[in-house]
Symmetry: C2
């Protein structure tokens, strides 16, 4: 498809821009409401004393998520996609003009809540991080395989709710490994803080690998 | 866009097919994991003694949801969309060839889990029913407004989890009404059964209106 090859060319430009400046870029993807923004706010508050960061937000409408990010003191650019259901490399390229990213910064991109189309659009990121909420069911990796195959890391979020759910963590992990044997998995809760250390450690390792 | 006008023409054909046979068709839409299939299974079990029904299932991959439907004894046709993120009128038209729908039957279409693109594709249904899970946050109607504007009814699902969440029901309802002042709203739980009577009653009224 012509759209994807055009997008890939722009993603390559973005990736070169990031590599020259040793900027780690993570593309957060999930269903709507899995907890991407809640997790980002928690992550930014934990890292902001020692790391320069910025966030690019993608949503059909509203500035809500960017406002939540800005409340932490970290700059955020909001992209509204209108009828569009995913961010693409061109949108991200334009957003880069609106944010100062010094050498060695950390950039998070929160994609539109959608487990389908964002899997196909490279933005120039180092890795896709898929957030799966335990409230969504164990079968999502099997039913939406492209996204779990495209992700390097799966964050199993909202684990604080496990006592109230009929959710089989092992089965969800097995399903993710079935579609992507290499996927890394961290269980956490963006509200209770469980597993946040492991996630922050993973980010740190990812930063070391591009330093 | 050419795609949508072609789709609308086929949707009109589907709608004529349904109207001639007085078949009520409901198109269930939501984020992945909001509880569409769980709700459908519960609904089919409640109605199957007195109503002829069928289900058309839409998913990127797997036959999982159709199998869950078939376990109730109600026939289901599974459409796998591959890279596609929504059902369209052509897919539904072909699926109709695989299912016997007598006069006065009730047909549910469970769309692909996605709050964006399915809003734009008319399948020939009488109404879109959007399922919003209380685990997804109150802001979804504002952030994904096209879907809530396109829906006649919003089912606020998983209300059994409210005691464990920080979810403001009034705010979610206000947000839905802000983007669609005419939307009807039913609070329910597909697992505990709360609100199911109201939902079954709503279906009954919808059937009467086309009888
Ligand atoms: N119990 C619990 N709730 C959570 C957790 N993380 C997020 N939430 C709640 O889940 C809802 C959605 O969270 P968001 O952070 O807005 O989700 P999102 O993925 O950014 O949503 P979109 O940007 O619309 O796709 C909110 O009500 C949050 O309070 C968690 O770890 N545990
Ligand atoms: N607590 C609670 N859990 C529910 C309820 N309805 C569904 N679930 C759970 O939510 C998860 C997803 O349910 P599904 O019915 O598969 O959701 P779906 O909308 O059909 O998912 P997709 O077809 O993949 O989009 C499962 O773990 C269900 O058990 C409910 O009312 N309350
Ligand atoms: Mg968000
Ligand atoms: Mg389902
Ligand atoms: Zn899409
Ligand atoms: Zn789409």
């Amino acid at each position: 498809r012509d759209i994807l090859s055009k997008n890939d060319a722009l993603a390559t430009d973005n990736r070169r821009f990031f590599a020259e400046r040793k900027i780690l870029v993570l593309n957060l993807v999930s269903s709507p409401g899995s907890g991407k923004t809640t997790l980002l706010v928690c992550t930014l508050n934990a890292l902001k004393a020692k790391q320069t960061m910025a966030v690019i937000e993608g949503d059909q409408q509203t500035d809500n998520d960017a406002e939540r990010i800005r409340a932490t003191g970290v700059p955020a650019v909001q992209i509204n996609t209108g009828k569009g259901c995913h961010l693409d490399a061109s949108m991200v390229g334009h957003a880069l003009e609106q944010v100062a990213l010094p050498q060695g910064a950390l950039l998070f991109i929160e994609n539109v809540g959608n487990l389908v189309c964002p899997a196909a659009f490279d933005l120039g990121e180092a890795a896709k991080v898929v957030v799966l909420s335990v409230t969504e069911g164990e079968d999502k990796p099997l039913k939406y395989p492209d996204m779990f195959r495209a992700a390097r890391l799966m964050l199993l979020n909202k684990c604080d709710l496990l006592p109230y759910l009929n959710f089989d963590v092992e089965q969800a992990i097995n399903n993710a490994r079935r579609v992507n044997p290499d996927i890394e998995i961290i269980q956490l809760s963006a509200t209770s803080g469980t597993g946040m250390d492991e996630w922050l450690n993973w980010i740190d390792n990812a930063e070391q690998s591009i330093a």
